[in-house]
């Protein structure tokens, strides 16, 4: 080593130390990025929400969280169309949310991922829609607080119906015929979502079948469902169905932009549709499939759950109680100020003036008359198995009966793992 390079040792040592510090600092920075805000009073909680499409919802959720004084609640707003996958993966890690919104699914109860919330719901149990209590109950314990009910049905443009001389369809044949008459060179007749998975359960119910029986056996594998799938396949290849739209069916864009005359969507989209189309908007339930079927509406929605394996289960329960049981003002704001949702609390539903007249009132009527709620035993794995049926038989020309049999096998295996 030459003398001059030796002289540089000092500088190098300093540099090394500095780099070491920088690296350590970088690692420390990684470790602290847990999404929890620093400072504030009480416990730190993290809540997961899927990204609602309506403007202002994210701000509202953060505003409610900020108003809570007993804990510092950070909100993670999960964008993308795979909320459930991100949630499931996150729940296994140390950075899991303390509270999260999801749908009632029994595997989360069986695997001990969601906490029993009976003690906070029981005092106000009678104020909830009984169906919303039932769909969250396992062995007498209630595992989630319903925040909103979201009926889903078909939206249509009465002006286009009039022009084409089409009546509101009540059977799947009529719907397919209407789609044919309504299709022009610019406008497609019908939009059921890009992959048609959002009408999975309505198809089953409208065909007079069900996802599962009362004692948790598969109930969807019927000839009527198979025939419905066959009819949908004919619709898919007819050229009357809007496919590969830039926004999927949960977003009202396709109808608003005049890409389609009928669209499957949810009540949440009503304000946006009314703003864009005024009175030229109507709704009807998913039509009857086969002769023994009955029209149906999917009463979806979102519920709040507490991560039973979280660090602050009690604090998280307190927060859920505060916001989704006690703060009726926020609940009403959440249900009616952005998109329209039906409040699961009967007292709130009765006082929600925005849902009392016009199109929203009609939505509430369909919700009550034709609605089917979630079955807690119908889990994400089973939902995905039925999505495969739709992909294989409607988008691909697979045999419906064989696809339903394969699906039943998968569902049976799941049921066996869940219920023994």
């Amino acid at each position: 080593m030459s003398a001059s390079s030796n002289m540089n040792w000092d500088r190098r040592n300093v540099l090394r130390a500095a780099m070491g510090l920088a690296a350590a600092g970088g690692l420390a920075a990684c470790g602290s990025n847990t999404g929890r805000g620093a400072g504030g009073s009480g416990d730190a909680l993290v809540q997961y929400f899927h990204a609602y499409g309506e403007a202002g919802v994210e701000q509202a959720v953060k505003r409610y969280a900020k108003a809570y004084k007993d804990a510092n609640v950070a909100t993670q707003w999960i964008t993308g169309n795979n909320y459930e996958q991100k949630l499931f993966a996150a729940l296994l890690t140390k950075n899991a949310p303390d509270v999260f919104e999801f749908h009632p699914q029994i595997q989360m109860v069986k695997s001990g991922q969601v906490a029993d919330l009976s003690d906070i719901i029981d005092p106000v149990k009678d104020d909830f829609n009984p169906a919303d209590i039932k769909s969250h109950t396992v062995d007498g314990k209630i595992y989630g607080v319903r925040m909103i009910d979201d009926p889903q049905f078909l939206f249509y443009r009465p002006s286009l119906f009039k022009k084409a001389g089409v009546q509101v369809p009540t059977t799947l044949e009529e719907l397919i015929e209407a789609a044919d008459k309504l299709t022009t060179s610019k406008v497609k007749g019908l939009f059921l979502g890009n992959d048609l998975t959002s009408i999975d359960r309505p198809l089953i119910w409208s065909a007079g079948a069900d996802t599962l029986t009362a004692d948790n056996k598969p109930a969807f594998n019927t000839d009527a469902v198979a025939d419905g799938l066959k009819q949908l396949r004919a619709l898919f290849t007819s050229g009357n169905l809007l496919l590969d739209a830039p926004a999927d069916s949960w977003d009202p864009s396709a109808l608003i932009q005049g890409l389609t005359a009928i669209q499957w969507c949810g009540m949440w989209a009503m304000p946006a549709m009314q703003k864009a189309l005024g009175d030229d908007i109507g709704i009807f339930p998913f039509p009857k499939v086969g002769s023994a079927g009955k029209q149906s509406v999917y009463n979806g929605g979102w519920s709040m759950f507490v991560n039973a394996k979280g660090k602050n289960v009690e604090a998280a329960k307190e927060y859920v109680k505060w916001l989704w049981i006690d703060q009726k003002k926020y609940q009403e704001d959440f249900a009616t100020s952005y998109g329209f949702h039906i409040p699961p609390r009967t007292s709130l539903a009765a006082s929600a003036t925005k849902l009392k007249s016009g199109l929203p009132a009609e939505g509430v009527k369909l919700f009550n008359e034709f609605g089917h709620f979630d079955n807690i035993g119908w889990t994400q794995a089973m939902i995905a198995a039925f999505w495969d049926v739709i992909a294989n038989t409607v988008r691909k020309n697979g045999d419906p009966k064989a696809a339903l049999d394969a699906c039943e096998k998968k569902v049976d295996a799941e049921l066996k793992k869940l219920f023994g």
């Binding site: 002289m7 499931f88 695997s111 992909a391």
Partner: protein, 321 residues
């Protein structure tokens, strides 16, 4: 600031100290320096690569649903489930089809671009950057652009607008798998994203070919163009080509983002990683079966890589050129 003079005066003093100092501070300096420089990387490698691989192998022998710390040992059941799963086997076919499209296409395209850019007399840096830029784009972002603006199914989608000029009906590129237009979407997006990077590798290799070879060839009467390309350029690029093809195969094996974002809830066109994601991290949350699939996939990749190395002479050093 020190001048030359002061430096000259000051130098002898630290030189004396330096004899002792490195030995005191950095006694086994080469060993210490080795760990200092490789340590952070090795720690990362162990934590983020070796531990997960080990954990995955361990998980693959357990019934691990909704947990990564299972207790129920099930032996080879998960392997049996994965190997008899038609979806998993189909995913290997999907991958093979995908690789058969994308590897030669990217190889030819990046080599072509490299040859073109290399021949440019001016604005070479500009074109090099232009073709390289897509490499910096995220796969997810590109997939969404391809899905929502270029290949959407409505009349104002770019591809459908273009076809509309010739009176061709709108095509549902992704929703309808028959005919399988989705391959066009998937292959073009990856081609756009990765060609630029391999072009740079080829440009570097092209610039390394000695000019004398071309001069000698031209004296021997070789015509410029195809003849010199075929007999000089291509053989000289052999090492680079081998590396590029290997890298492309590995990248194809890792394909996930564009398939996941473009095909969504389809049952076709699912490469192994998407299939494993669905199994382990998606709806099913079956970490045991997912890990078993990952182990099977890892073994397959090892075998293919070794086999390819044997055929193409990768890593044989200088004589392979």
């Amino acid at each position: 600031m020190s001048t030359t003079t002061t430096r000259g005066v000051a130098q002898p003093a630290p030189a004396k100290v330096s004899k002792a100092r490195p030995r005191r501070g950095l006694g086994a300096s080469s060993t210490f320096n080795f760990w200092l420089f490789t340590g952070p990387f090795l720690i990362g490698l162990v934590i983020f690569v070796f531990v997960p691989i080990g954990w995955s192998i361990w998980l693959s022998f357990f019934e691990a649903r909704f947990t990564v710390t299972p207790s129920e040992f099930v032996g080879l059941d998960n392997y049996k489930q994965v190997l008899t799963d038609t979806n998993f086997r189909n995913s290997l076919v999907t991958f093979t089809v995908f690789a058969a499209f994308i590897v030669p296409a990217t190889w030819a395209m990046s080599l072509g671009l490299a040859l073109l850019v290399n021949r440019l007399r001016f604005m070479r840096a500009f074109f090099r950057s232009v073709f390289f830029l897509p490499t910096a784009v995220s796969y997810v972002a590109a997939a969404l652009i391809w899905k929502m603006s270029i290949f959407n199914g409505v009349r104002f989608g770019l591809a459908n607008t273009f076809l509309g000029w010739f009176g061709i009906d709108n095509i549902a590129w992704l929703a309808n798998p028959d005919p399988p237009w989705y391959w066009l979407v998937i292959v073009t997006v990856r081609l756009w994203l990765q060609s630029g990077f391999y072009m740079i590798l080829f440009i570097a290799a092209l610039q390394n070919i000695p000019r004398e070879l071309y001069e000698a060839a031209s004296i021997d009467g070789a015509k410029p163009g195809w003849q010199t390309f075929r007999h000089i350029t291509l053989p000289q690029l052999r090492a680079t080509s081998t590396a590029v093809i290997l890298l492309l195969l590995v990248a194809a094996y890792q394909a996930f983002d564009e398939f996941f974002n473009l095909l969504g809830k389809a049952t076709w066109g699912q490469p192994p990683l998407v299939e494993l994601y669905k199994m382990a991290l998606g709806q099913n949350q079956n970490y045991g079966a997912g890990s078993a699939g990952a182990v099977v996939l890892t073994l397959l990749i090892c075998v293919v890589t070794l086999f390819q190395g044997k055929i193409m002479g990768f890593g044989r050093g200088e004589e392979s050129k």
